[in-house]
Symmetry: C2
């Protein structure tokens, strides 16, 4: 298996219904996910053992961690230590974010892989 | 310290001379770096204990891991298991990439923080 892969060739899967869709690159200790949030998508409060760090690539989100809330656009970052409660809501145009986790999100292996399709970001040549 | 921070407020530091500049967000176990590579910047072959996964945001790079070489544009990803040799060269327009590491890059703490300045990505309103 190659260690150098284009995002557009990675099969996506749905994390919170089809409003939150991800593609992942995984090592032995890290899961890096490119996450597409639909317009106004809501990820309800949850927590997990894995530490999570992330950044908005496109669009906007409102993020709450441990009671602190901020609106974030491209370049907005978050840091979620193990088992801290967090909530995300996408803005009216949706968002694309990168989320990374350690240890890997083994719980995501239960999600069924969808057929390959163009990612929202980066926009492919010839797509609207 | 806030867990929700805009990239533009994070002080950068130089990793391989001023041709490779980074800003980082760090948890207890993950370092997420937004890395700016100057035009044709060369990161010579190196290796480290930390596992590394990453993705191109803007521009292009030529990546070599363990003897496998690929040209990558936005959405191009890499996965570097612990202690595997790797080399990167930025393309003629430079690149912005996200690199994540676990455990954290404690060795980066020796780098002096530079004065805040606008990141290459995301482009700030009003900058060329």
């Amino acid at each position: 298996m190659s260690n150098l892969v284009d995002l557009e060739t990675i099969q996506p899967f749905d994390v919170w219904g089809d409003a939150v869709r991800a593609r992942k690159v995984e090592g032995e200790r890290i899961t890096l996910a490119v996450v597409e949030l639909a317009r106004n998508a809501m990820v309800p409060e949850h927590r997990h053992e894995a530490e999570q760090v992330g950044i908005v690539i496109e669009g906007s989100v409102t993020f709450t961690i441990d009671g602190e809330t901020r609106d974030l656009g491209p370049g907005g970052t978050w840091r979620i230590l193990s088992n801290r409660p967090h909530t995300v809501q996408a803005g009216p145009e949706g968002a694309v974010a990168i989320d990374v986790f350690t240890p890997i999100r083994a719980d995501w292996e239960r999600y069924e892989l969808l057929a390959p399709r163009p990612p929202v970001w980066p926009r492919q040549a010839g797509t609207p």
